[in-house]
């Protein structure tokens, strides 16, 4: 095989002629992320994460075969941001509830989210209603999570050559479906292979998911020493006085607050540095002083949440959304694809514990009005920083807070940055 040389971001690289760029870059120690590419396969070019520039022109890296003298850009600021943006598009287009996903921790898309340091998506979440198809014998397709990479189309066929997966519809309604008849023909290992190659949790095998405990999953630890890029949001305040902190839980479960308490003895150090004002920790109901930082757990689900959030914005210099619910709605946003009327009927009228015609949907002028959907906090007020996780790691929370308040240098280790 003829050897050729080309450049990636100005660095001279060498590989066999005609090799796929993703592979060629890997051989030269440069990682180009992708979610649809498969080594031995004809390039699909569907996810577009691997977008690079060849002689100044954008192209999907996985569709490129290296030739002598090629000048390729991979990690320029524009391309890095494009990659991150495409991932964010995937997060908002589907309904990716990492905390409730069987594949969480083993999910390649989630891992790329960590690696690119996505804290919150720049795009609005679309909350399109998609269903879960469990009709097939072994395979469950959760269409909420599919990113339409087409890997399963090409990779999973029956022994007699029939396609098992395919697209249905087009445009924004495009979804992946499974052929029930062909699916039955798959062997156990073929079905598990389908689950394995799915870069998200869209393809599951009944009874075979959730096999590994937290901490042991593929992407729990990351490469030792790997850190997540840090975003700077420092408060320019050099006074040595104790800093004032306020916290609240909106449409959340208080899990993030529990996590905040999880630093154990660290709390004693912390209490030397900060003083809590309005917070469930102090049970102070109304702001008594202006605070340096406000920590918000949970999203905005009703008029009360809305008022509290706006009060926090008014009374705090810096606002931090903590946890998935605060960042984009999280688990309460599971209701966002369902009409409010259905939700209320299910909760108050048709639930197992409600007696026929005995229960009503609670309503009184004193009771806050429930919003049509759960809103992310940044849709209501400006949020200065997002800390993902369900709940976020306690070190992550306090180190970010200390960084913001005292400009303490801090790196976020990979295992502390999670969406679940």
């Amino acid at each position: 095989m003829e050897r050729i040389s080309f450049t990636i971001d100005g660095r001279i690289c060498a590989s066999d002629k005609g090799l796929n760029l993703i592979e060629a870059a890997k051989q030269n120690g440069i990682f180009i992320p992708t979610l649809c590419h498969f080594k031995h396969q004809n390039p699909i070019g569907s996810c577009r994460i691997c977008t690079v520039k060849l002689n100044g022109k954008a192209i999907a890296g996985c569709t490129l075969n290296v030739q002598e003298g090629m000048n390729i850009e991979v990690n320029t600021p524009i391309l890095l941001d494009t990659r991150k943006a495409i991932l964010e598009m995937m997060f908002v287009e589907g309904n990716h509830f990492c905390p409730s996903c069987e594949k969480s921790g083993d999910c390649q898309m989630q891992n790329l989210g960590y690696e690119t340091g996505i804290r919150s998506a720049r795009f609005p979440h679309l909350f399109v209603e998609r269903f879960i198809d469990a009709k097939a014998k072994r395979i469950v397709i959760n269409k909420n999570r599919c990113i339409k990479c087409k890997r399963c189309f090409e990779e999973v066929t029956t022994n007699d050559g029939y396609k098992v997966f395919s697209f249905i519809n087009k445009g924004n309604k495009t979804i992946v479906s499974v052929d029930y008849e062909q699916e039955e023909k798959l062997t156990e290992s073929q079905a598990q292979y389908a689950m394995k190659i799915c870069p998200t949790g869209a393809i599951l095998v009944k009874g075979k998911s959730l096999s590994k405990p937290f901490g042991d999953r593929i992407f729990d630890q990351g490469i030792p020493g790997k850190t997540i890029p840090f975003l700077k949001t420092n408060k320019n305040n050099n006074s040595t006085q104790k800093k004032l902190v306020a916290t609240t839980s909106l449409a959340g479960c208080f899990g993030c607050h529990m996590s905040m308490l999880d630093i154990d003895l660290g709390l004693l150090d912390l209490i030397e540095l900060v003083e809590f004002n309005k917070s469930p920790f102090t049970d102070i109901k109304k702001f008594t002083k202006r605070c340096d930082i406000g920590i918000i757990e949970g999203g905005c689900s009703n008029t009360h949440n809305f008022e509290v959030l706006r009060a926090f914005r008014e009374n705090c210099d810096i606002l931090v959304s903590v946890g998935e619910c605060a960042i984009w709605g999280g688990l309460p946003a599971l209701r966002n694809t369902i009409s409010l009327e259905e939700c209320l009927n299910e909760a108050y009228k048709n639930s197992l514990s409600s007696e026929q015609d005995e229960t009503i949907i609670p309503n009184h002028e004193e009771i806050p009005k429930i919003f049509n959907k759960v809103y992310a906090n940044h849709e209501i007020v400006k949020i200065d920083y997002h800390i993902p996780g369900c709940p976020p790691n306690s070190n992550h929370i306090w180190n970010v807070v200390k960084n913001i308040l005292f400009e303490e240098e801090y790196a976020i280790p990979y295992p502390e940055f999670k969406y679940d």
Binding site: S46, F123, G171, L340
Partner: protein
Amino acid sequence: MNRTNLLNELWEYQNKHGYISKRAITQIAKSLKVSILDIEGVISFYHFFHQKPTGKFIIYLNNSIISEFKGFQYIKAAFEKETGCTFNEYDENPLFSLFETSCIGLSDQEPAALINFYPFTNLTVKKVKTIIKQLKEDEKLATISSSFISKIQYTPSEEKTMLFRNYIEGNSLKKIRKYSASEILENISKSGLTGRGGAFFSTAQKWKYCKESKSDKKIIICNADEGEPGTFKDKALLNNYPGLIIEGMIISAYVTGAKEGFIYLRAEYKYLLKKLEKTLEKFVDKGFLGDHICGIPNFNFYIKIQLGAGAYICGEEKALIESLEGKRGEPRLQKYFPTQNGYLGYSTIVNNVETFAKASRVIELGTTYISKIGTQKSKGTKLLSISGDVAKPGIYEIEWGTTIRELLKLCEALSPYYIQISGPSGECINSTEFDRKICEEDIACGGSIMIFNRSRDILQIQKNFMNFFKIESCGVCTPCRAGNQILYEKIKKIERGLSTEKDLEEIKQWANIIKLSSRCGLGKTSPNSLVMAIDKFKDYFNLKTSPITENQYVEFDMENAIQEYDDVINNL
């Protein structure tokens, strides 16, 4: 059965039963030895195929922006009222089924609909009432349908007209006998002919690639899938000069050595099918098609017509080829030109209807004739379809280099304000740009010109366009599938008065990402018009957005957020 015949097979079921049943799908899948899902995937890609029973009359009402401005809403309501059916739903009415559809190539006669693919134009509420009554009384569609013919409003003086002039069948074919394939190619090259579908790729270059290809077979495809909203010029050519187009295809076959040709006709123009078939037959009879064409030994060429089934993206040549192969119309990767790897892997030429017609005229009239018309770079004439707020919508054959101002005068535009050139994926211009010229040096135009006056809402235009892209994206790549949907949400946000200047900035940034990373031309161009409109109609967008303030609240639509709750409680 052959996979390449799949679309025809599906059409047969669709036409016969009004839908393609599970049983039919199973049968087809069996005979093709593919999974059922594979066939369902194809069916669901094309919106003229149905998997649920439809009524005896399927009504497709165009929802393009021109239609919207000419009363789409009222016509839609009228159809629903008269038939008792709901749009875009399968409500098991034995007589009627109603669907919205993207532009059907009748923009000069909107609102327009297709009923079992018969055109009904210039619809009014009263007209709808009559039509439905007539259909219920079982009157023949052929007798009550409207004319689909678009008026030829303008052609240049005779010595400057290329297309709409006297045509005698076989005139250009007569000439090829005298020349070798290379000489013909030389002529095409000299004429400077470029792709008239809107990409403006050199025709001679494309033909040369195919000619030089070592492919076993070569294929010529005429792209008659004119789907860009506001375009109907190919329809006029297909109707007036089908022979001219076919001659163009024959000439390209002569140059490249192709033996097989296809006309991929969009289903919206099904009413042209008979005419095209007849012309093909006539050509065979006259010895212009078949074996030893025009007496040239071993010059054999056959043309088949393939009917599309409703998918805008199939106008993209690589998607068209996929569709022709009986698959979902997902554009192939940009990696190869069709001349390298086209239909079934063979070297393939895909040219627009107008390109073939022009090629034919180049041979007939000679390159000197053409070199005298047009500008330095754009030689000859261009066919335009003009619609919108003008007194004379229709077909215009103009000399390249005509200014927008001249054009506006010709079509008697009524206080023009916003002009969309080359359809939603093209560009928009404002009144300061009326002296710009239509030519490759300035504004190259694929054929669609939509003119809007001051009373039209720019946001409504953009919303319609983005909705179109959202629906018509093939759905394969993330930036186009999700990105257009995200931009659509952004437009809705501006519409609700919740946006600041920051949103406009974001639209521009996000548009860049979509354009940079999309897989094919659809996503690479879909945000163009919106971004241009923001730059060119600043005053309008300033009114629609609030400036960024120091206030750290984000605009929030409280009324909308609690509406549902109030409704539920009030109805208790």
